[in-house]
């Protein structure tokens, strides 16, 4: 049964949107940290996307994506009232949410959406939540308003200084860690950002959870495409994760594995863009 799109909010025109889907069975079971696998067309590939929010009482889940290739471009071409061919989930292990006092949630780019769901879980558990979010420039910043609704502290960074602090999220993170009393750090965003966050927290000895986004095919443990090295052991992100101890993750390996199909992905996307009547 295709999954209807109830609402679409264009967050960064042409690049990133928020879709609210009518998926009552998934909404009933989804917890922060879970993801779904989607397929947009009968010829399409299955792609994983983190669930950014849920409303079980209304049977709704929210996803947020960054247009990176053909599959996400197909998703961006859909409007409210359209349906997504396949939505499968919830998948992965939910975030371990415990009362630890102060939790710093760091989000970068589209990862802020997923981080927001985890931060919400920590807030509900009674933790003091500090959100540190970053983007290249002001227009690319997501979920600021939503986070303001429940976090205790919010720090915004932009690379170009067009909004909030100029610079990377790691700077305010370090300052906040130096201030002390931090029980856990959660980071969701691009691989280099998560790797940098793990390096900043390491000397402080603060538990650091990262949410990984390796290539997946089935998302249910069958293929092993999503294997990541954590503490020298191979883990499957789809059944053992997607969240892992950031101090143990082999980030360079993850980055290389994410690039495994780069040529084919580029070929697919170029072809799709040429087929579009107005270009893209």
């Amino acid at each position: 049964m295709p999954t209807p799109i109830l609402r679409k909010e264009r967050l960064i025109p042409g690049k990133t949107s928020k879709l609210v889907l009518h998926a009552p069975e998934i909404a009933a079971k989804a917890r922060p940290g879970h993801f779904v696998m989607l397929r947009m067309s009968p010829e399409g590939e299955r792609i994983p996307l983190t669930i950014a929010d849920t409303d079980a009482s209304r049977g709704e889940i929210t996803i947020v994506y960054l247009v990176l290739g053909k599959s996400t471009a197909l998703l961006e071409a859909l409007e409210a009232g359209d349906s997504i061919l396949d939505v499968c989930g919830p998948l992965g292990r939910p975030t371990k949410i415990e009362k630890v006092g102060t939790v710093i949630c760091v989000g970068g780019g589209t990862g802020i959406a997923a981080m927001h769901h985890i931060a919400k879980g920590h807030a509900r558990a009674g933790n003091h939540v500090v959100a540190v979010i970053g983007a290249r420039e002001k227009s690319l910043l997501l979920f600021e308003k939503e986070l303001m609704g429940f976090v205790n502290e919010l720090v915004v960074c932009t690379d170009d200084g067009s909004y909030g602090r100029k610079g990377l999220v790691t700077e305010p993170l370090k300052e906040r860690l130096e201030a002390g009393g931090v029980g856990e750090v959660v980071a969701v965003g691009p691989v280099p950002m998560m790797a940098a966050v793990a390096e900043v927290t390491r000397p402080f000895g603060v538990a650091t959870t990262v949410s990984l986004n390796p290539i997946m095919v089935d998302g249910i443990g069958m293929c092993g495409a999503c294997r990541v090295s954590v503490g020298g052991k191979t883990k499957f992100a789809c059944v053992d994760g997607p969240e892992f101890d950031g101090h143990q993750v082999d980030f360079p390996e993850l980055r290389r594995r994410l690039a495994a199909f780069r040529e084919q992905e580029a070929e697919s996307y170029d072809r799709y863009r040429k087929e579009q009547p107005h270009g893209n």
Partner: protein, 473 residues
């Protein structure tokens, strides 16, 4: 019965036409082309019609083999189909992928006199003829009607051979059946695992369509243990059958295994079969291009992966196996087909490590040469390393086909389900019932990785018990 065999002279078995190796190694069309009506009738007439047929004892689902072959010999193919369907919901599949030589044909009395009757090929002929007739005139193929009085609802988790068989028998007995499949297509391993050149996808789709006509409802994108769990399903179903397969791939555990270019057979085959990667970029799931391909393992899955890699354009494909060809677990026919197509065998070799470049892309595999030593617990001679005999094999795509272990998703979500020491579901060998009343299990999630037909046999046993409990015959 030996007298029955010796009473007649045994004619040679009718060969089945195949695509020539040089041609088929470049396409995904079916390798074995099937009998025509004359071939089938000739082959069927070789059957001795034993009074006490031994072949049936070799069949995990107990197809009335003698009876259907009699009808084929007489030209009554549709009647033959009806006879097969009393025991087997997926005859077109089984006719293609069952290890017949070890099962029905292995028990055939003619085997002693030369060649067993080609039961698998005849089963395939009957099923294909039926499916072709249905495709040509859908109205002339009414769905079967219930003969029993069973009433109730059954949920099957997974849609591979075990669940499909269970669903088919329950539905034919009048039960309402819901099948929950995690992927976007039904069929399980028949769809994601077995390549089209061995089992065309339209054959699987046609047999599944037959189950839909019986009233079976398929719920795709429903992960057992995530979207739906056993506790939920028990609330609105009288019985639950778990047929989720084994799933989780086993890796070699040697250094370099996470280099770009090292794949599990599951991933490699899923990209190409379920994702139609052979049709990239018309389909979006990219296959991984490999010039020099190395496959680890020697079962049917390894053969499938190796032959698929050839068809994807590899210049060389090696199967690396630590024993000899005689010990390979794959079906003889699959090994022969692979060799004919150009797959090479690096026998008595075991991987030591994968080597890569600075981009972490696979460039070669270091192999340890082995020799056969003393017999081990399995009775087979144990391969032991030949000291100092190490060599590098150039490879940019490695496929690990060493089998699978139990997938944790459903098991973790169902803590009260008793498991074996090896982590599979504990089920009554006679009925398939688990430690939870009216919850049954069968197939790879009970036995560990096995064959399609053994999974079907388990699905059938559970279905018969479910039907009996719900008031049927």
């Amino acid at each position: 019965m030996a007298t029955e065999a010796s009473a007649k002279k045994v004619a040679p078995r009718v060969e089945m036409p195949c695509q020539p190796p040089a041609e088929r190694r470049h396409n995904f069309k079916e390798v074995a082309l099937g009998y025509n009506g004359d071939m089938a009738a000739t082959e069927a007439s070789r059957c001795l019609q034993c009074k006490r047929p031994t072949c049936v004892r070799g069949c995990p689902v107990e197809v009335p083999i003698r009876d259907f072959i009699r009808e084929v010999a007489a030209g009554n193919v549709e009647r033959a189909y009806e006879i097969i369907r009393t025991a087997n919901s997926l005859p077109a599949v089984c006719g293609r992928v069952c290890p017949q030589e070890n099962q029905c044909e292995g028990k055939c009395i003619l085997k002693a006199k030369g060649e067993a009757i080609a039961i698998g090929r005849l089963e395939r002929f009957v099923a294909d003829t039926h499916l072709a007739a249905c495709a040509a005139a859908p109205d002339s193929c009414p769905s079967e009607t219930s003969e029993t009085q069973a009433k109730g609802r059954v949920a099957c988790i997974g849609s591979g051979p075990a669940s499909l068989t269970c669903a088919g028998i329950c539905a034919a007995a009048g039960l309402e059946v819901d099948v929950y499949e995690a992927l976007h297509e039904s069929g399980g391993v028949l769809v994601y695992g077995i390549p089209a050149f061995r089992l065309p996808k339209d054959v699987v789709a046609a047999e599944i369509a037959g189950l839909r006509e019986l009233g079976v409802r398929f719920h795709l994108n429903h992960v057992g243990g995530r979207t739906v769990d056993v506790a939920d399903l028990r609330k609105d179903h009288d019985a639950v059958f778990i047929g989720v397969g084994a799933g989780l791939p086993i890796f070699l555990g040697v250094p370099g295994e996470n280099l770009v270019g090292v794949f599990s057979a599951n991933e490699y085959l899923t990209r190409i079969n379920l994702g139609r990667g052979y049709d990239f970029p018309e389909h979006d799931t990219p296959p991984f291009p490999g010039r020099h391909v190395t496959v680890f393992g020697a079962g049917n899955v390894a053969m499938d992966a190796a032959r698929t890699a050839l068809r994807m354009g590899a210049e060389s494909v090696h199967i690396v196996y630590r024993r000899t060809r005689a010990e390979m677990p794959a079906r003889a026919e699959e090994i022969e087909h692979a060799a004919e197509e150009g797959v090479e065998f690096a026998l008595l070799s075991a991987p030591l490590r994968f080597n890569g470049d600075e981009q972490l892309r696979l460039t070669s595999v270091t192999l340890q040469k082995m020799e056969l030593g003393e017999p081990d617990a399995s009775g087979r001679r144990r391969p032991v390393p030949v000291e100092g005999a190490v060599e590098d094999l150039e490879t940019d795509l490695a496929i690990v086909a060493l089998g699978t272990r139990s997938n944790p998703i459903l098991l973790d979500a169902t803590p009260d389900l008793a498991r074996t020491e090896r982590g599979y579901i504990e089920a009554d060998p006679e009925t398939g019932e688990t430690s939870i009343p009216n919850v049954f299990a069968g197939g790879d999630i009970v036995t560990g990785a096995a064959t399609v037909i053994l999974a079907m046999g388990a699905g059938r046993k559970a279905a018969q018990e479910i039907v009996r409990r719900l008031g049927g015959k």
